[in-house]
Symmetry: C2
Subunit: 308 residues, 2 copies
């Protein structure tokens, strides 16, 4: 299929009842070039192309991470027993997810523009980028729930209207992601196909996805097929590292049985050339705190140390 199709064509149809399964990806994975002056090397880009993710160690130092965690602790206190559309609270009053963290505090706003993150997104996507979404994810000790296999892009396409795959996530590790505290599990190579999901999109689906995802879940048979190709990876990463992963990489995580929390700050960068259209579901767009529509402006990356 020609990549220059009209804007009215849905290249990645999903949630059209029983008509689903593994389909082609029509977009590049790596748009850019290796960077001789820093950034990702040719070897790193090739691995990203093949497996769909990379772990970049020690991008942020301990003092920065401590400062970022201090802020999370304050949010935790502020949001306990309160109701906010953009915050999901578990049965213990702990934050499960918190959307729009870059708009919540100057520190996280600065983080979202930090050269160490933005330059990677610009390099891989070979375009100016803006923030499609930011969020804090928190898998609480003992009670953090499982998240079934999914492609983020499937949701961003169907519910937010991102037309093409020119988007990536950078998850900054705030507490170590170990093999025993419900690490992100991925199907390496799965980003090279698109898995169209069964079912429909319920009205105001985002209100449910904050707690438990029901729409946009692939069939078990399709996950089995993708896992047979390259197996399943569990991603461990130390505090201050960044996990870079393609918008269409199939991932999930089990419940957190361990006494250790798993906390990441996730920033989703989209190419400005890939601006959202109307949601392909035909439903109203999700709120701005989950998916940027109004303020699509290229980020000017800032060299900085995060100390306020």
């Amino acid at each position: 299929m020609n990549a220059n199709v009209g804007a009215d064509v849905d290249l990645y149809p999903s949630r059209h009842g029983a008509d689903c399964g593994i389909q082609s990806r029509y977009d590049p994975i790596v748009y850019g070039e290796p960077d001789r002056d820093g950034g990702l090397t040719q070897n790193q880009l090739e691995r990203y192309q093949q497996q769909g993710y990379l772990v970049l160690d020690n991008l942020f130092n301990n003092a920065e991470i401590e400062r970022l965690i201090d802020e999370v602790t304050l949010w935790q206190q502020a949001f306990r027993n309160s109701e906010n559309d953009n915050v999901s609270i578990d049965e213990h009053g702990d934050i499960r997810s918190f959307y729009g963290i870059h708009a919540q505090h100057a520190l996280y706003s600065a983080l979202s523009k930090d050269t160490r993150l933005v330059s990677i997104a610009q390099q891989v996507l070979a375009d100016d980028v803006y923030l499609h979404q930011s969020r804090l994810t928190f898998k609480a000790p003992f009670v953090g729930q499982s998240s079934f296999w999914h492609s983020d892009f499937e949701t961003w396409h169907v519910e937010d209207g991102l037309p093409r795959m020119r988007t990536l996530s950078l998850a900054l590790v705030l507490t170590e992601n170990q093999l025993t505290n419900a690490p992100i599990m991925v199907l390496p190579g799965s980003h090279k196909s698109f898995v169209s999901c069964p079912g429909e999109t319920p009205e105001n689906n985002y209100l449910h996805t904050m707690r438990e995802q029901h729409a946009g879940l692939p069939r078990q048979d399709d996950i089995q097929i993708l896992a047979d190709i390259n197996g399943v990876d569990a991603i461990s990463a130390k505090k201050g590292s960044v996990i870079l992963y393609d918008c269409n990489l199939m991932h999930g995580s089990s419940n957190n049985l361990s006494p250790l929390p798993r906390r990441n700050a996730v920033f989703v960068y989209n190419a400005v050339s890939n601006r959202p259209r109307e949601p392909y579901s035909g439903m109203p767009a999700r709120p701005e705190f989950m998916a940027t529509r109004r303020l699509i402006q290229p980020i000017r990356a800032q060299h900085q140390q995060l100390h306020f």
Copy 2:
């Protein structure tokens, strides 16, 4: 405390309301000696003493494992949509757990007497041994449920009346236990203490434990303390390997998100000198298929290859 206390003393009280927490272990972990003629070496016994478990690679060959799995497949077909007290079936009709497998088929009866298993139990416990329990555990792909932290001994003591810790489990790996298919997670060193649990024992508790454990669960604070000492290990082991673990080692597992099943055949050997008394809960004893009471006779180990 003197180990030769009267039979009427409950050395390991648990489920007495709010009176709970981390207490002493009054029993040895390794009762026996290193074996110069095979069996466990001094180094292995020391590691078992310290961490509470060992993985013994390649004890059974592929042909044997295939034969054992063939039998599981037949059970799966036979038990689908049927009701049996000793079999727990999940919502898809798949076996979740199956107690008394040594009494179900000659192959598994032979396996329970196999020298490769029995000699290890005899060596570590330095006594004749008998089978307190046998079971198949099956973590189904995608839907296999999480099992919270617990010590097996806590249940075997409270509900089955095993007075002392002179018992161990040998889990024969039928399908590979990987880091991504809900492996057994353990708190290394936790077997050196006893964690008394809060709450009471409900009547006919075993009917509930087949599906979900509610009694005999330690407090999260106690798990945190034990995890702070030596961390959390996830045990990976290949097909045909055996995981040896102490009766009092704190363990659990997360849900199985992966497309790969995790299946183990577990044999629990108890020293004949440690025969069960009346359950310390004051409740009636559990059924014979869960906890042997009637037929306590030393196993005569058999050298064999498992082909029928």
